[in-house]
């Protein structure tokens, strides 16, 4: 069994599965249960400044969307940072860390945007024994209206400034948690790095309205007839998170900056995908909130089995493995030509490929009287839609047209060599394109 022991910015944990700063990590009771269940680390729910704690709404604070059989696909929340007294949280953090010295325990922080506030909170958490801090520059609801959370995370200059304060007033490893509610995630990541961050973690939740009550005409979750945008998370956000992680991992400015991957991690496979795109570990929230802490056991066994199959002995061998293969569109090989192929033996004759192609794509699938579906190679542009809508996995495959063969659609011989848009005659940037 592969060793999953993880070291992230010097913080050791028995596995790379941490619980993200969120409701599951708000108090000692939950965190102890999480560690007992096997979680490698916990990012304690965000602490605020000394004084009266924030208050949460007393109506519903979560909204959701579901797939078949009410499988939770996406969750949003309008919960704020911890609403328990600072002292209580600090006492509990110390107690838990003392009993679980082998687990990572990170404290998430969010205080007003002035140096004194940050210096003060950092001083208060010093003797908890915690392994590091995570700066919550991500929460998109509630706290952002008060100039914190994503209000900071959306301004790279603020990120750099606050990160600098934190590094100045603390020797703890510092993770900057990024908001996805921006246009280019590379900018805040660069700012965090400039400020001295040891790592970034992403993504925080995405601004969202999960649904609208069509009788009351109010967004969900609804509180006394009104709703507000909340932070979206869960399996539905994973593709967005994967891209943002990859963007930071392959950006020359931030390449090598440790990343803690967050966003819809539900299974070992999701975790492995984040790690191949450059995440040194992952943080999980919605999966635990949906199924309970035990899900980590599947993540542990799944990742371990996968690494065994791949002959990997350390998670560091996995981290970043896919990063070199993430590129820009302009570098994709336009001479790589495939055609869809429908395996008639596997086909259950639902006709979805036909409807999709005929109605919405390239009219490249023929349907016979007796419901045999065949790809027309002279029409197929290899868009992959038929593969995506086919309910039978593996029934439709994309087969490469070998170099030297004729592409029946274009009538041209498929070139041997790689050729991208930059070199293509249709590219207006190529002066020699038009005679």
């Amino acid at each position: 069994m592969a060793n999953l022991a993880s070291e992230f910015i010097g913080i050791k944990s028995p596995n790379p599965f941490w619980l993200a700063s969120a409701p599951p990590t708000d108090k000692e009771y939950n965190v102890r249960r999480a560690f007992e269940a096997g979680w490698g680390g916990v990012v304690w729910k965000t602490l605020g400044s000394e004084g009266p704690p924030v208050v949460n709404v007393n109506g519903p604070r979560y909204g959701a969307i579901w797939g078949a059989d009410r499988r939770l696909l996406g969750l949003n929340n309008i919960e704020l940072i911890t609403d328990r007294p600072l002292e209580t949280n600090l006492r509990e953090i110390k107690s838990v860390k003392r009993d679980y010295p082998d687990r990572a325990l990170i404290i998430s922080l969010m205080v007003p945007c002035d140096e004194d506030s940050w210096a003060d909170i950092l001083k208060r958490i010093e003797d908890t024994g915690a392994d590091g801090v995570e700066l919550n520059f991500g929460c998109p609801h509630g706290m952002a209206e008060r100039g914190m959370g994503s209000a900071v995370g959306q301004v790279p200059e603020y990120i750099e400034m606050v990160t600098r304060w934190v590094k100045k007033h603390s020797r703890m490893p510092c993770i900057v948690k990024l908001t996805p509610n921006i246009t280019d995630v590379r900018k805040p990541a660069e700012a965090a790095k400039r400020g001295g961050a040891d790592a970034v973690s992403l993504i925080n939740t995405i601004n969202s309205i999960t649904s609208v009550d069509l009788d009351d005409f109010a967004p969900e979750p609804t509180i006394d007839g009104k709703g507000t945008h909340g932070g979206y998370c869960g399996p539905a956000v994973k593709p967005i998170a994967l891209n943002m992680v990859a963007e930071i991992a392959r950006n020359p400015e931030t390449h090598g900056l440790p990343i803690s991957g967050i966003g819809g991690v539900t299974t070992w496979r999701d975790a492995a995908e984040f790690m191949t795109l450059g995440a040194g570990n992952v943080q999980v929230c919605t999966a635990a909130m949906t199924y309970g802490f035990k899900v980590v056991q599947e993540m542990i066994s799944g990742l371990s089995d996968y690494m065994d199959r791949k002959g990997m002995t350390s998670t560091s061998e996995l981290v970043g493995r896919a990063v070199p293969n993430v590129t820009d569109w302009q570098y994709l090989n336009l001479n790589y030509i495939t055609k869809a192929k429908i395996n008639e033996a596997d086909c259950i004759k639902c006709g979805r490929c036909y409807a999709a192609c005929e109605d919405t794509s390239h009219q490249a699938i023929a349907m016979s009287e007796d419901r045999v579906f065949t790809v027309k190679d002279d029409e197929c542009v290899a868009c992959n839609l038929c593969v995506n809508v086919c309910p039978v996995e593996g029934c439709i495959t994309m087969e490469r047209v070998a170099p030297g063969q004729v592409d029946e659609r274009t009538g041209k011989v498929v070139p041997e060599e790689y050729g991208n848009w930059l070199e293509h005659p249709n590219n207006p940037g190529n002066a020699c394109a038009a005679e």
Binding site: A68, K349, G351
Partner: protein, 440 residues
């Protein structure tokens, strides 16, 4: 009234009272909301869906299932009822395992089709429970049409004609409308008086008068009906029962399965329905299975269904055969009745083994029987009708007979299987043709 399952002869009240309600409970209870959503989600929304092609009434199954999945079962019901006004009953009695569900691509994929029948019932029950009749009658045309027979074909035809604005009179010899929905079909497929409720719901369209106790040949004549109406639709079913044609057939205890089923359906209290201890049902169709299963449910000790050919030739679907077996009915195939034996009342019945071509083997056996049900097919049983094709009224695709102004459909007419859903389709299609003809 102290009979039990061992009491010899034909007796009522063989079971403790509570067993009857359990035995005759709904075979497939309606799905609850969540079950319906889960079942609906399995539909792939196929292009040119095979299930729809397999449905004799061509219900747009993918569409109605998607309507259920999106929380609009009433819209789903309207999609169903547009094509099949008796969609509620068909959801209960259709042999879906040989129609839509057999064609379902998930049957191909994993041997578990989408539960189309139960989803159809969910939708139609939801609409009917809301008391909604989603169709409106067109302005009166002044045309009058006679429909003879208030079974599925007749009711379907009447509803469609009434919707188009024609005045329809439905004649039926029985005291209640519904035909085989009311008097045939196993009780556990149509509980709580559903057949009668469905008729009442259907008649909400308006413009339909039902005249019961009116039989063709006994008060009604085709000539008179033609003279009094602009068109006539014959949906008289098959009133005659085929005879076994063996010695001793006239002995007491040898009964028609259809009559047994009709009496049972009309009984208010199942414990009052008499049944033999050793029951033999002869036949291989749905009627035979319905009779055999219900005999068992009434407390018969031994029920044997005997069919003259092989199992794969039985008209009853595999599902029905399995249902019978699960209720304790013994199925014997490749055996034809030779003689009914008994002194006044039947005591035994003798069979001879026969191959699939009915060639006798000379080997015989006897079964103890104090009651025998004949379920070997039905006949028109009359001759004052338009030309026949074989043993049924000859019709074209839209139900036209050899007689001008007379259409026919359902079990009495040629073409199609003897299924409720087929009868509904034929009634509907004849109505459209009648409408087109009258308005031309």
């Amino acid at each position: 009234m102290t009979s039990n399952t061992l009491t010899p002869g034909i007796a009522a009240g063989r079971l403790p009272g509570e067993d009857y309600s359990r035995n005759f409970a709904d075979l497939h209870p309606v799905l609850d909301d969540h079950e319906a959503l889960v079942a609906a989600d399995r539909c792939y929304f196929c292009h040119d869906a095979p299930c729809m092609t397999a449905c004799p009434t061509s219900i747009d199954i993918p569409l109605f299932i998607r309507q259920i999945a999106t929380g609009t079962p009433e819209a789903a019901a309207k999609t169903i009822l547009n094509q099949n006004i008796l969609g509620g009953m068909c959801a209960r009695v259709c042999p879906t395992e040989t129609l839509c569900e057999e064609a379902c691509v998930r049957e191909t994929a994993e041997g578990k089709p989408v539960q189309i029948g139960r989803l159809q019932r969910f939708a139609t029950d939801t609409l009917m429970a809301a008391g909604v009749h989603p169709f409106e009658r067109a302005a009166p045309t002044g045309k009058a049409v006679a429909v003879v027979g208030a079974g599925p074909a007749g009711l379907s035809c009447a509803h469609r004609l009434a919707m188009h604005g024609h005045d329809v009179t439905v004649f039926d010899p029985r005291p209640k409308a519904g035909g085989l929905n009311e008097f045939g079909i196993a009780a556990y497929k149509s509980v709580d008086g559903f057949a009668a409720k469905e008729v009442d719901w259907l008649l909400q369209i308006g413009g339909i008068t039902v005249e019961t106790g009116q039989a063709l040949g006994a008060g009604l004549s085709l000539e008179k009906l033609k003279a009094d109406h602009d068109a006539v639709f014959l949906a008289i079913g098959l009133a005659g029962v085929n005879a076994l044609g063996v010695e001793g057939e006239d002995k007491d205890g040898v009964d028609d399965a259809v009559e047994f089923i009709a009496d049972l359906r009309q009984a208010d209290d199942m414990s009052t329905v008499p049944i033999g201890r050793d029951v033999v049902v002869i036949g291989g169709g749905m009627t035979a299975v319905d009779a055999a299963v219900q005999a068992k449910l009434l407390g018969a000790l031994n029920v044997t269904l005997v069919y003259r050919r092989g199992k794969d030739r039985m008209n009853a679907s595999v599902f029905e055969q399995d249902l019978a077996a699960s209720k304790g009915v013994r199925i014997i195939t490749n055996a034809s009745p030779k003689a009914v034996i008994g002194n006044g009342a039947v005591q035994e019945i003798e069979f001879e083994y026969t191959d699939d071509d009915l060639a006798p083997t000379g080997e015989t056996f006897r079964l103890a029987a104090d009651q025998v049900f004949k379920a070997i097919g039905q006949t028109l049983g009359r001759t004052d009708l338009p030309e026949l094709d074989g043993r049924k009224i000859a019709v074209n695709d839209t139900g036209r007979t050899s007689m001008a102004g007379v259409w026919a459909g359902g079990d009495c007419a040629s073409g199609g299987d003897d299924l409720t859903v087929t009868a509904v389709a034929e009634g509907r299609d004849a109505a459209e043709d009648i409408h087109a003809t009258l308005m031309a």
